[in-house]
Symmetry: C3
Subunit: 665 residues, 3 copies
């Protein structure tokens, strides 16, 4: 892309009266360069079954084109028309509790249902045929924040049986891998297989989740293939993932069907703005294709499906967040949305304009950014990011632990979040990888939240990684079950035992927090572990810490094993945030990762990359309401926003909620 | 009415053995003058379908008549017989979640269902025909605490479509007012209209609530018309509303079908007795017909559908509460009920007698009041109340906010309650008015809880009221949406903008409480606002207070606009109780409302009116467990309870939980 | 029995690979003498309908027999095969909310359903016929922890009507005892009787619970009779109750069909180990047949259906718990289970061996006990227990109060638990008796949790008990309703009034705690009562305590009436634990129960009995992590575990989590 795109989703059709000209005038005035259209209004495209309308959209596209504004066109399939529901109620999602989705909310149908697919395909082909030559369109979005919508009724169950037949061949094999002999539930033939609704068997449940993820991949791949039949060279196909790390869809698999990945990060602003969860969302979006990505939606004024959590950004926050996404590798930032709505569930999910539809405080800041990007967008686009550290994400482990939780407070995701937050706090950028990732050696450190469900192959690959010089941080419960969520009948942590240098036969929950004996990491008041203890017995590893407790003191809490040319650090318990930071810090230092980014004030965060012109870029952000100073440690640069030079070792003061972009020269 | 009525609901048929003579002896002994009969026992009237029994009731009526006790007879339709459920299960309420009411509880049927109506009509006509000439009967109660019982299944949905056709004409109009274009849900014809069960659209939901209220009005009007065919001149028809302000029924509309309104206030006693919620209930009952009303049920010993909240009144409390209701304009106080029940869900909802059915502490106090009323009842009856202040209640706004709540802690009702409590604490009596109320100018001050849903007509009428000299206290969210719950596409507060003298484009939730800068109302520790901020920009109004906050300090928290001959005070945020009291106080003073009632000790409350003989009456109550003294500020009077004179400026000491009734002479 | 049995449930069929020989080797090595087999794996017995497999079990039985290990064989009926569910979905439990049990969990069928019974009977007869002559089998377990599984659908409802017809004869009688006249719900004939699902009537609900209990009794009696047709002389039939006191089954009635009762106590260990709830479970198991019992399942390593509450015992705890059960009268202790499972819902309900299936810390302690019992088992078996105190348990009262609760915090069970805990703390052993228990006079003291539902006969029997010299401790709500849960229409506490020496007409809930005036029991900070007050008026009783409160001070809180040759102490309110202990202490002293067991350190508990050789036995346990000393007060004895003599008055020091067994000589 030649420059950064900046814009909003635009729904002229939602407005109480025609404002197309007024809107385009405001857009031009603000520096907006792109809008997303069409993905939300199936009944505007097809008000009655088989009757298609295009004039309303032609007029919008033509006007945008005239104004030089680019368009991303969406397929309108995530929210079905009333006539479709009335005619084909059988396409609605049937949930595990037997209830059927009612009409009213979007995203409530069975995405595998052939009747739904039939109407989807027709409306997509109609739109594509009509607009394939329109010059304003740069790309297509297929569907919107797709999931499987808790659809799990009899039709889905039949699909699951087909999936099982293909994967396992016979119910004999299922009896074995899931241990159906337990409670006398051996199955003799597929017609006896009980439905998911009452199932307690963890292996069955984890496999069912895997199947559900494939349904979403299949649906989006199918849409992308239809769109690909029509799209012009140079146009792209994308899908907009909702924010965070998803366990209900396989973002990596879906991304293989897309030309570029998109994401919709929404996050807390005002006093809570620190951009960590936004960064995690961006890290995923960048990692799924190992490439630049688009932000298709993000906070404009306020968000929420009611008016309980209305938090408009403070002055400066909207602007700094744009640069936050660009620093993560985004090539576009688009708000949801241009207007605010006067009816419907998202009345309080406000756009750039308020309900009064006139310029306001936010529009002013939006315009400031629009004009800045007109100038510096070409330098910011296509940022190259190379990370030394990766976090390994396992959706299977999330579900495996979800079905056998170790805590009401902590779970797989809270551990993953803690580790990401720790690295963010240390100003260490990360990629997100999965158990399928083969090329591990490109990372100096791999951090592994509880890898509860994993095949021998995956565990052996991690062990190999360490042996070859990688530094592995493993957490409790890793290695406990195989890929079928079945506990290994050997000493834990199974295939990781040699690399980790210990074994255990027992574990215990903890009702209270415990201290580590002698505060080995100098964490002071936060010298605290909790929730879970693996009763580790050392083979070759060294203990980094022991528990302060009459009984548990004999078991190490944290261990490290020098293994081959690398190392394996293991946390056998849940660490406080401070303790986690100090342990991660030692692992980074093991890997030779240290430096000036670690000396910044807590409110200052820095992100790096190589700019479009090949220069190193350093983005500095002040996530606080007061000015913050620091010494700039890199080669001489220019702040692209102000045009001022920044010299090595120069003291830089960032105002409240502000940013500089230092491009080395 | 010639005197105050005093009595209880009476269910001789509920007793384990015949006690009619014993009960009537105790009633006579106590001074009881009225009982309510018959409304709860359909199967005693009609044990088998079409077989009617009257002998059991004839005997009771004759004995009561002989004893000179008056009777209110109820239609027994709120609890259906087992045979009716067995024969017509289709009349049971079907809820939004698809579940059907089971048999066991009362008030679980679809009150619009023709099959239910058929059996209702027959039993009502049978009873009316049989008893229309009985001399003991002074009036009839139709049904009991009627609502629509969450009935919202397919039959109700059909009724809703008919209602919509009449009101809106076409689905094109619905597409427009509800904005069904959002999420592509445009409807082409009534057969496509989705059912209420899955609906998220706020406008649809608010209209559905309106429709449900009309169903209750229609049902009670229909019953009243049947009874009117039989009743003698001088007899009345009433319905007993349950306590509080109702959002599921339209009490004003229903009252138009009644000769007199009744109400069933139940409230906390023991240490929590302050009679505020009871007063609110009474204020509604008096306001719906702008006339005296009846208390058909209230606490005798204890209340509750289990034994978790059994709180018998302390000595004196039962007695003072009778005079509390009379001071609000009641012409009758009837307990629920005479006996206590030995079985059924209300075993612990105890009557005047305990389960042992012998005189007890409560019976003694009941008798004391009975004998007092024999003497002074004729002076207390028909109290005339004229209020300077009104609270505007909007059921639509309640629902509009409920479907887009701004808080888990505060809602429309909590604001209305806070405002009533504030005025009660200031000893200012109020009427309750509605958006339909035309004659606003009779009030000096109108207090408006968040008027979120309102037509231009209503808002313009309020602006006009201020212009003509009224003093309006408006609260946040007022004026935000129109009568269809659709946000106005203009600067807020829409049609109120000129009268209020400001506008806003943005608002914010608050996670923490904030102080008002400089504590302008001297509220000390309670100088606190919370939850919600409208980011007000002044046009002509003056700011009475600003926020103490780095960002929000630029926005006024409370404003006042002198407008025409009156004023508009606006609260853009949620105030602490103390702050609310101080702000209301300034509004009252704007309107010239001040005086000695504001100097009373906190535990003393006073209520006023003009007595049956044309004299001014002042009721003073001590809502505390210790004696309280105050200077009596009005013209010389006599305490009707003791016969002692009370001179102007005399110091009066009220014992714990006691009352005086000063009638000016 | 000649000696104590020690073992585990054993599921070789659950293992990922064959380990029969390895397991038996480990069993022999550890001293294990018994295993339970077969009750959990219907599909191993009958993989397809009507096709039975025995070879897998023959092999296990033969190997065990060869190793001299005894077997308890279970009928496999508590968990149904997939083929049975697929063929007969109509046997699944239908719940009160109309939902049907799904397949996956065990114990989810209607145990009265004839189709289920047909398949049960066939598989039981097949197993019995095949194994009736196998020499290793010492007894049979019918089903497992049986309940009625919330099955309450139409089929159960029909059974209930039959039950009612038999018990009450006509609906006229029901109308009367349940007071169906209330809310006009009189029933004219059985076809009109409403189903349980919507019922609010407390009498109906309590009777329905009684009916449900009879269904379980009937089912187990039916199974026992089938097994009895086959079993050899000397073999026993048992059922394993889950822990605690059950309100959903009638353990006393069921026990009449069994040769010996079994129980499955599971309880907290680590820092929370005090063995009180385990003792209560044992007390019930011993009381139901007034005989020794078996522990069929108990904690090995950790328990839980997830990994949130994994608490392996500290060193010594597993061992001391074995002797704890023996001291309560157990003749067997069997763990659930030998292995740990690698799949299924109970993956974290760990057995003696961990998932690695190799000897571990717990196996070591298991083996220590196994070898101790080889030596001293013959002396410990068949312990005779004679208790001076009984707690009267009323399932009806539990349900009566459940349907009209007096608190969210306290209920029938919390009171029963408090009383048991109090007596346990005082080292007073108890039997558990029921309202049906006739021979009350064998106890010196009977302690009665709120006996809310009880017939005149039962209440008169208790009064008679006191008159004849017994000492009765009664608690509030006792005597309030009759056997139909109908409140008595007389002064409370009804038939208990003369014995208790007081009456009351009123009661009150309490929002705050109150003190007793003058702290009459010297409870200091715990001089606190709460929740409920019966407003007692004394007849002949004396007040032991009054409330400290302006209003309630006129009512006694605790009373005592000397009655005949005994006494009745009454608690009209909820006492703090400390207060309860001091009140119970005075009642024990009334009965002459005092002595050296009351002087022990808090962590030391003692239990007594007469050993198999006729000598008095005293078990002392140290439930703490530090050594505890006490003076041994009984005749000279030998500690069976160490063989060391223990002299009268000798100071004994017990190490942390340890036990001595003093056999008098």
């Amino acid at each position: 892309m030649p420059t950064v795109l900046y814009g909003a989703a635009y729904y002229q059709e939602y407005m109480p009266s025609d404002r197309l000209d007024k809107d385009i005038e405001l857009m031009k005035q603000s520096g907006l360069t792109v809008v997303r259209l069409g993905e939300s209004t199936w009944t505007s495209w097809e008000p009655k079954e088989g009757q298609f309308e295009f004039a309303w959209m032609d007029r919008i596209l033509d006007a945008l084109h005239k104004a030089g504004i680019k368009v991303i066109m969406g397929t309108p399939t995530y929210s079905i028309p009333p006539w479709l529901h009335a005619k084909h109620p059988e396409i609605m999602a049937v949930h595990l509790d037997g209830s059927t989705s009612t009409y009213g909310i979007r995203q409530n149908m069975d995405i595998s249902h052939p009747a739904y697919r039939f109407y989807c395909e027709r409306v997509i082909r109609q739109i594509m045929a009509h607009y394939k030559d329109h010059p304003s369109i740069i790309g297509y979005q297929v569907d919107n924040e797709t999931s499987y919508y808790q659809s799990a009724g009899p039709v889905v169950q039949k699909g699951f049986v087909d999936y099982l037949k293909k994967k396992f061949g016979s119910t004999q094999e299922l009896n074995k891998v899931w241990g159906l002999v337990y409670w006398g539930q051996l199955v003799q033939g597929w017609d006896e297989l009980p439905a998911r609704d009452g199932i307690l068997n963890p292996g069955y449940k984890v496999e069912f989740e895997r199947f559900q993820r494939t349904r979403v991949t299949d649906f989006l791949d199918w849409q992308a293939r239809i769109v690909n039949e029509y799209k012009r060279p140079g146009q792209f196909v994308t899908q907009d993932f909702s924010g965070g790390v998803h366990t209900d869809i396989d973002q990596w698999a879906i991304a293989r069907s897309l030309d570029i990945a998109s994401t919709n990060p929404y996050y807390s602003v005002q006093d809570e703005l620190d951009f960590q969860t936004a960064t995690l969302t961006d890290d995923v979006a960048r990692s799924v294709k190992d490439a630049n990505f688009l932000v298709t939606e993000t906070n404009a004024q306020t968000i929420g499906w009611d008016s309980k959590g209305q938090f408009p950004p403070y002055d400066g926050q909207l602007r700094m967040n744009v640069y936050g996404h660009l620093a993560d590798g985004a090539n576009m930032v688009e708000y949801w949305h241009w207007h605010s709505l006067h009816y419907g569930q998202e009345t309080y999910w406000k756009g750039v304009l308020s309900h009064d539809l006139q310029p306001n405080r936010i529009f002013k800041e939006f315009s400031q950014v629009g004009h800045e990007l007109q100038k510096i967008g070409p330098k910011l686009v296509n940022l190259k990011k190379t990370q030394d550290v990766a976090i390994l994400f396992s959706a299977d482990s999330y579900h495996g632990i979800r079905y056998m939780p170790f805590s009401d407070k902590h779970d797989y995701m809270s551990l993953l979040q803690q580790l990401h937050k720790t690295l963010y706090r240390l100003n260490v950028g990360v990629d997100i990888i999965t158990p399928e990732t083969k090329d591990l050696q490109r990372y100096k450190v791999i951090v592994v939240p509880p890898l509860y469900v994993a095949s021998d192959t995956v565990l052996n690959r991690l062990a190999e990684y360490a042996k070859n010089g990688g530094h592995l941080l493993l957490t409790f419960k890793s290695g406990f079950t195989d890929e079928y969520d079945t506990v290994r009948p050997v000493m834990a942590p199974g295939p990781l035992r040699e690399a980790a240098g210990f074994h255990y036969q027992e574990f215990s929950s903890l009702k209270q927090t415990l201290a580590l004996k002698g505060d080995p990491f100098k964490a002071g008041e936060q010298n605290q572990v909790s929730t879970w203890i693996e009763m580790i017995e050392l083979d070759t590893a060294k203990a980094l810490a022991y528990y302060d407790h009459p009984f548990f003191s004999r078991y190490p809490a944290i261990t490290r094993n020098e293994f081959g040319r690398g190392s394996v650090t293991f946390e056998g318990t849940v660490l406080s945030d401070e303790l986690q930071m100090r342990v991660v810090d030692t692992v980074l230092k093991q890997a030779g990762l240290d430096g000036p980014d670690r000396q910044l004030p807590a409110a200052i965060h820095v992100k790096h990359g190589t700019g479009n012109s090949g220069h190193a870029m350093h983005y500095y952000f002040n996530y606080s309401g007061s000015p913050q100073s620091f010494a700039y440690p890199y080669s001489g640069a220019v702040d692209l926003l102000t045009g001022k030079p920044v010299a090595k070792a120069q003291s830089v003061t960032l105002p409240a909620w502000d940013v500089i972009i230092a491009e080395e020269r």
